[in-house]
């Protein structure tokens, strides 16, 4: 009797395991995206106008976003404004994930209800994954300069800024150039937002140091040398800065995008003595792009999100977060930009450098082989 029980139990266990394995595989049916009219719409006109898009999106009722930190370019307010305007719930997964994680998640969750609907990606990840995106051109796409958007509408740059040095003016003297950071006053105080072989912001920080040390967009190695010297001098802090480390005084100097540094002094709980400077002669610019997941489970909401982000409201929300909206020039001309917010952006002197994909690849390869040794 006992033996029979054991045998039955083990069979049940085996069957349960087998059932679990089957349940884990994605459903074989086609994704929601291809089967609805919204899934194939490439502009709001395809859906019969804005009102029809809003209706379709409200019927879906949900939008899945991923890797959108609330303290990144005012994303908390962007999401809450979208939710209250359209009555659509935004479910935000893994706020601290990287751009590469977004693509991985979309592949792993393909065909499921929880897959991300939209992407917010760094330039290199965008260019490498265009086959994942559904083409869609927002109503205001004409305002976006050529070169900052895909001609087929697969992706569009949205907001950007310049590499900057944020510092706590209560603890350290104001730096004006990158070279200033070598001074003894900055001992153990200079942090970079992330590892430059992993995070786009840190990557551009090394590029900024390179431009300031005689390098060019084609040659990042002087920047690596700079950080190597900074590390030997004991000034480099191998700690990932976050709002918490900044507010607690652990990272008094942070190299990061100007909009992220600027947010530190303006948000509640932030540091009032936090200042931002875009160093002279080393201006590195960069844009983040928006794209729609071709397999989006909520295709209409995904498209409505795009229309919202590129509307005057959405673009001014980026500005409020200290970022430069991609439609800024057109909005200045038409007078729809928030001039008070525009005046608060840090001053920039010199011509900004925007990296081409080839320059990005070359610098990434250099960093891969040299960075770990430079700061070891």
């Amino acid at each position: 009797m006992a033996r029979t029980t054991v045998r039955v139990l083990s069979l049940i266990a085996a069957a349960a395991v087998a059932a679990t394995v089957t349940a884990c595989s994605p459903p074989a049916s086609d994704s929601a995206a291809a089967s609805t009219p919204a899934g194939s719409a490439t502009s709001v006109a395809d859906l019969g106008g804005m009102d029809a898009l809003v209706t379709a999106a409200k019927a879906e009722g949900k939008l899945n976003v991923i890797a959108l930190p609330p303290d990144w370019t005012n994303y908390a307010e962007v999401i809450s404004t979208f939710e209250s305007t359209y009555g659509i719930t935004v479910s935000s997964a893994q706020p601290d994930a990287s751009s590469a994680d977004e693509i991985t998640a979309a592949k792993q969750l393909a065909g499921q209800d929880t897959a991300p609907d939209v992407f917010d990606l760094s330039q290199s990840v965008t260019v490498a994954n265009t086959d994942m995106f559904a083409p869609y051109k927002v109503a205001t796409i004409g305002d976006v300069p050529d070169g900052l958007k895909d001609p087929n509408g697969k992706w569009t740059n949205d907001y950007g800024g310049y590499m900057s040095i944020g510092y706590d003016s209560a603890t350290v003297p104001a730096p004006t150039t990158v070279a200033d950071l070598m001074k003894p006053e900055y001992k153990g105080k200079v942090a970079l937002n992330g590892d430059p072989t992993q995070a786009g912001a840190a990557f551009n920080g090394v590029m900024m140091a390179s431009l300031a040390s005689g390098g060019s967009a084609d040659d990042v190695s002087p920047g690596v040398d700079f950080f190597s010297k900074l590390n030997k001098a004991g000034n480099f802090l191998p700690l990932d800065p976050t709002p918490a480390t900044i507010e607690s005084g652990q990272t008094p100097v942070v190299i990061d995008w100007d909009y992220l540094n600027a947010a530190e002094s303006t948000k509640t709980g932030g540091l009032a003595s936090w200042k931002v400077v875009v160093p002279k002669g080393a201006v590195v610019g960069g844009y983040y792009a928006q794209a729609i997941n071709a397999q989006a489970p909520h295709p209409a909401a995904a498209r409505l999100w795009q229309e919202f982000l590129y509307s005057d409201v959405g673009q001014n929300l980026w500005l409020k977060g200290g970022a430069r909206p991609v439609r800024a020039d057109a909005m200045i001309t038409s007078g729809t930009i928030d001039k008070g917010l525009l005046a608060k952006l840090p001053a920039v002197s010199g011509t900004p450098v925007f990296l081409t994909p080839a320059q990005t690849d070359a610098a990434a390869a250099t960093l891969n082989s040299t960075w770990a040794k430079a700061i070891a």
Binding site: R3, V6, R7, S10, L11, A13, A14, V17, V21, A97, S98, S99, A100, D101, T104, L121, S122, S124, V125, A128, G188, L192, G194, D195, P196, T197, Q198, A199, G200, F203, G234, L237, P238, L239, D240, S248, G249, Q250, T360, A364, A365, L367, N368, S369, W371, A372, K373, I375, A376
Partner: protein
């Protein structure tokens, strides 16, 4: 059929091993031999010979071996102290209970505890700087580098040693010591010829467990170290999540394969050693 019947009871375990050990290992091994388009390649394995990867393996092994050694010695002595204490006494109950909790106290919580205590603005750091004039980070911010990892890892390695080594110490019979004493043996002779050889296999086994525990630990290191990926698990993270260097998932699998090989080598060495040390017990 009759012969198969006793094996049937093993089915759940066998299924478990296949699902969680064999399949993942196969995925890693096969994946490390394929490129992004699933064509066979040796490029991923070649990438393992890159100097930054070799350095990471060297550091991972150094970190695991040193924390296993510290854990084994300190934890072993602590376990011995506990085993000689009264079985129902306070010392024993307190140490075993604390070890049970602390051995599992890894990951982000542990990293945070250290940052709050001896981080840049930590309680102890600030106190030492303001009142004693000692700057514990004068020579660099070592907490967020390899020396910091060694210190933090020791924090869960020592209690783990107490837990896994205590049963072996409890297995030593008091009569053996009495027999040794009554035959005129000194304390040194007892440990050299009786206690030591009896405990050696399980001591080495526990040390090996500590090595593997540190070698595969990820969350603690990930929460502390954000620059330069000094150890292999962090390099795997970098290869999987980088938004600067794309499409290196295959390198991650090759790195994982490297870790499997290191553990296999250590296990083999352990098996050979144990066969030697436990020969006379049979």
């Amino acid at each position: 059929m009759l012969r198969l019947r006793p094996l049937l009871g093993l089915t759940p375990f066998a299924v478990f091993v296949v699902l969680f050990l064999v399949i993942p290992t196969l995925v890693v091994v096969i994946g490390s031999l394929l490129d992004a388009n699933n064509a066979p390649t040796l490029a991923n394995l070649q990438a393992l010979t890159d100097s930054s990867v070799l350095t990471a393996f060297r550091r991972s092994i150094l970190l695991s071996a040193s924390t296993a050694a510290v854990g084994a010695v300190v934890g072993g002595l602590l376990a011995h102290a506990v085993s000689t204490a009264r079985p129902d006494g306070f010392l024993r109950r307190a140490v075993t209970a604390a070890s049970g909790v602390l051995a599992q106290f890894g990951g982000v919580t542990l990293a945070f505890a250290f940052v709050a205590t001896i981080g840049l603005q930590g309680l102890v750091t600030v106190f030492a700087k303001d009142n004693l004039g000692v700057d514990i980070f004068a020579g660099g911010v070592w907490l967020f580098q390899l020396p910091g990892l060694i210190l933090v890892y020791a924090y869960f390695q020592i209690p783990l040693m107490v837990i896994v080594f205590l049963p072996a110490l409890d297995g030593l019979r008091a009569q053996w010591r009495e027999a040794s004493d009554s035959l005129g043996g000194s304390t040194w002779q007892y440990w050299r010829h009786v206690g030591g050889p009896l405990l050696l296999p399980s001591f080495l086994g526990s040390a090996l467990l500590l090595f593997a525990n540190a070698f595969s630990a990820y969350a603690t290191a990930a929460a502390l170290v954000s620059q330069g990926a000094p150890i292999v698990p962090l390099q795997i993270r970098a290869a999987l999540t980088s938004e600067v260097l794309l499409g290196r998932a295959d390198l991650a699998k090759a790195l994982a394969l490297g870790m499997v090989v290191v553990v296999a080598v250590v296990m083999t060495a352990y098996a050979l050693l144990q066969r030697r040390t436990s020969r006379w017990l049979q």
